[in-house]
């Protein structure tokens, strides 16, 4: 097992290097200069000043040298300096990660809480109106742009009904002082119930907008996986023994059916993390996605590089975890069959 993990991690290294190389090359070839954008349109700036900034950030070096320096620094865990923010890239990314992770996890939670029961209901009443309705709804979920759903939700709940906040992570002037960047966690740790509730209210709309696709996916996976399990021997045996239907489904079938669902969801967390930049933009959510979009816009190469590397590493790790869970859980599943 350990050697498998090590081998996989070693295999991931060339992939990550490939990603850094591609992003480096793209940004290098793209016309445009972060220093120009940084200095803006206006004011007195001399060419001498532009050249100096380029020199200080090593942007005047040949491609190979820049990439080499980047790799050497990366070996030390240093992602370089952002040209626009003039601060270490690693620091900037770390500041934004909590907001994005918090939103993603809440979105995933909502997706599971709604998707799994809906999937179970659809599977149990296969071909019923309920099943068809759920199927159609889940298709709707994957067919709409998440940011548009966000706009519609803001319009309904924040503007017309005025029951939820429009944007942001928390109300202002509340006296609540987050420490870790995970606001919900902070509020709970500080025992500040009002703040926790407030943070939750801010999380709700963006999380729902983000979760639509995953919710749909969860529902459909649960349904098909459960249908497959219900057809299997041990479930039939349980039924034949006279175990009540509810228990059969929930205790025996569902437990096994959920394993592939959870695996796929874990894998998709990566995609969710990478795809949330638009939702973050709509809700003014200060996460990594918005930072990256801005960085690409301003040609802040070092920041783009660093962020893409973080995304890619997350993807690789989640993939590995998903594969591991397959490898790890499969024998138990086959073992469970006999016991059921």
């Amino acid at each position: 097992m350990v050697s498998y993990i090590v081998r996989r991690l070693v295999q991931a290294v060339p992939v990550l290097l490939g990603v850094t190389f591609v992003v480096f090359l793209l940004m290098y070839l793209t016309p445009g200069d972060p220093v120009e954008v940084f200095l803006g349109r206006g004011g007195a700036v001399t060419q001498e000043e532009i050249d100096r900034i380029r020199r200080e950030f090593g942007l005047d070096r040949p491609f190979v040298e820049q990439y080499g320096r980047f790799l050497v620094a990366l070996g030390r865990g240093d992602l370089g300096q952002s040209v626009v923010h003039r601060r270490p890239v690693g620091e900037l990314i770390l500041e934004r990660v909590p907001a994005t992770v918090e939103l993603t996890l809440v979105a995933a939670l909502i997706a599971l809480l709604v998707g799994i029961p809906a999937g179970v209901a659809a599977a149990v009443r296969r071909y019923s109106l309920l099943d068809k309705g759920a199927t159609l709804l889940s298709l709707l979920g994957v067919s709409m742009p998440g940011f548009w759903l966000g706009l519609v939700l803001i319009n309904v709940f924040a503007v017309h009904l005025r029951v939820l906040p429009v944007a942001g992570r928390m109300a202002y002037g509340t006296g609540f002082e987050p420490q870790t960047g995970f606001y919900l966690l902070d509020a709970l740790l500080q025992g500040n119930g009002a703040a926790a509730l407030d943070v939750l209210r801010h999380l709700l709309l963006p999380a729902v907008a983000m979760s639509a696709t995953m919710m749909a996916m969860t529902m459909r996976l649960t349904r098909s996986s459960l249908l497959e399990t219900i057809g299997q021997d041990y479930v039939r045996t349980a039924r034949a023994k006279g175990v009540p239907e509810r228990t059969v489904v929930l205790r025996h079938a569902l437990r096994n059916a959920l394993l592939p669902v959870v695996t796929v969801i874990a894998l998709n967390l990566g995609a969710l993390l990478g795809g949330n930049m638009v939702v973050e933009t709509v809700f003014g959510w200060p996460g990594l996605g918005r930072l990256v979009v801005e960085a690409v816009r301003t040609h802040d190469y070092p920041l783009v590089r660093g962020a893409v590397l973080v995304y890619a590493a997350t993807y690789v790790v989640l993939n590995l975890l998903a594969d591991l869970s397959y490898a790890f859980l499969n024998p138990r599943i086959s073992h469970g069959k006999g016991v059921g």
Partner: protein
């Protein structure tokens, strides 16, 4: 059992959907701003919103009135003792937010940190350019400091408000990295916390010396607490303003002004900005190498109509580069709309059949571009609009690959040297159109380097404006107003043309 569950669920839902009530004691003024600060180090940025925020925690040697007049702030007075030396007499009794007295050493430290290379964490301050001919500062005594420039620098006072003074003792003790996130100034508010991407909180500094005597009232700020809340989406900012969650909202699009004015609790305050807008042409190659074609375009665009329709009337046409608010403004009539004259000029230049061109613009100009393209079509120029990300368009303009584009240039000092030189002097950074005219170059050079005499400087810049007007390397469009949505509870605050939001004198009723 079932019903209890349902009740719990319903209760949870109600709790979730009701606003959370927090105790409101202190008087808090909240500004909705469209971008977070990039850093809180006054020496390490080139970013308008960052300066807007920092202005409330830091003071400069001098500042500007809302009428853009340079007045004393941390300095009481100054004199120019030679062509290249200025002496500033500092205010006594000013303290940093930690109680340490402010002295000439702090000014020397700030100037050196700004103009000497590699002084901020190994990097050079990007604000060096705003102070550039200044090479050194010397403390003559505790409250007197001398600034030395390498060449005569008549525009020094116009630029000086943009250099905020930082505390020597503190920066040296905590280091640049810590300082960038934990600022300490002499301004009306002291730093409380920065939740990145979310908010910056400040509280009144009770030991404040009171600010510039030239801008009454002098004294500590009336509000207890100021929050800059980051709201990048326009619609969100307006919604927050209407909900009363924020009291000042920046960057209101002109189409939405009526909506805000319709709300009895709100009003719109606008001020003419300092950004000149142009339709620039690539003069290096045909068709715009011909001055007649360039003049034709100036006649073909109905600037007044564009302003009326797209900008809701909130802009002032300009005949040349400078804003009417600048003391250097040359008051001559703009070209004016004359499609017949435009067609004549085009015919004279050999384009009686018109020509096709792509009109490039960054996203925020796309509506303007569409309307102007229509106007060009009326005189026979087939203009196709292409919208770009500015960072992608600029290098292509630079390379001389583009022909016609909309752009603007900020002139926060209202001094001609940071617009007339970069925009049109041969080979300068902002000279996107590739314009090159020895007479023009001589005029602006004369004004800057050889004219300590203010009158001669003014005359030279007037001549340069006149020349630019005639040569028309761009269609001179306008200086637009900037609109702020403001709660009627806010008193004692007006927007400033340089867009710095100073809340020192603002109060809430």
């Amino acid at each position: 059992m079932k019903s209890t569950q349902a009740q719990v669920l319903a209760l949870a839902l109600v709790a979730l959907l009701s606003p959370v009530a927090f105790p409101q004691g202190a008087k808090t003024l909240v500004v909705g701003i469209d971008s977070d600060a990039l850093t809180l180090d006054p020496g390490n940025f080139r970013h308008r919103e960052t300066e807007t925020i920092l202005r409330n925690m830091y003071d400069g040697l001098v500042t500007r009135t809302p009428g853009m007049e340079v007045v004393p702030e941390l300095a009481v007075s100054w004199e120019r003792v030679s062509d290249t030396e200025w002496v500033f007499y500092l205010r006594d009794g000013v303290t940093w937010h930690d109680g340490t007295p402010f002295t000439a050493e702090d000014v020397v430290f700030t100037v050196e940190r700004t103009v000497k290379e590699g002084r901020i964490g190994g990097l050079t301050s990007p604000r060096k350019g705003l102070l550039d001919p200044v090479t050194d500062a010397v403390a003559l005594d505790r409250l007197t400091v001398k600034l030395i420039t390498s060449v005569p620098y008549p525009a020094l006072l116009a630029f000086l408000p943009h250099t905020l003074i930082v505390p020597k003792h503190y920066v040296e003790a905590v280091g640049d990295a810590y300082f960038a996130e934990n600022p300490l100034g002499t301004g009306p508010f002291r730093f409380v916390r920065w939740d990145k991407g979310t908010q910056i909180v400040m509280e009144r500094y009770d030991g404040y010396y009171g600010g510039s005597p030239a801008i009454p009232p002098v004294g500590p700020a009336p509000v207890d607490r100021v929050i800059f809340r980051v709201l990048p989406e326009t619609s969100t900012r307006i919604a927050a303003l209407r909900a009363g969650v924020i009291h000042i909202a920046t960057r209101i699009p002109v189409d939405l002004i009526p909506e805000i004015e319709a709300d009895p609790a709100l009003r719109v305050l606008s001020v003419r900005g300092t950004r000149s807008t142009f339709l620039e042409m690539n003069v290096r190659r045909p068709p715009f190498a011909d001055v007649r074609v360039r003049q034709a375009l100036n006649y073909a665009v109905d600037v007044e109509l564009v302003i009326e329709y797209v900008l809701a009337g909130l802009a002032t046409p300009i005949p040349s580069l400078m804003s009417p608010d600048s003391p250097f403004y040359l008051d001559i009539p703009p070209y004016g709309y004359d499609p017949v004259r435009a067609r004549e000029l085009l015919a004279e230049a050999g384009y009686s059949g018109g020509f096709s061109v792509t009109l490039d613009c960054p996203d925020h100009f796309k509506d303007v571009a569409l309307v102007i393209a229509e106007m060009l079509r009326d005189v026979g120029i087939e203009a196709r609009v292409q919208v770009w990300e500015w960072s992608l368009l600029l290098p292509r303009i630079r390379a001389g690959e583009r022909d016609l584009w909309l752009s603007d240039w900020g002139n926060a000092t209202l001094d001609p040297m940071d617009i007339m030189i970069p925009k049109l002097k041969t080979g300068e950074r902002g000279n996107y159109s590739g314009y090159s005219n020895p007479t023009y170059d001589e005029l602006v050079e004369f004004a800057e380097r050889h004219a300590p005499d203010p009158e001669a400087r003014l005359r030279a810049y007037h001549q340069a404006q006149e020349l630019a007007h005639r040569e028309a390397p761009m269609v001179f469009l306008w200086v637009a107003q900037e609109a702020y949505g403001v709660s009627r509870r806010v008193v004692g605050w007006v927007p400033s043309p340089d867009s710095r939001i100073n809340l020192h004198r603002a109060d809430l009723q």
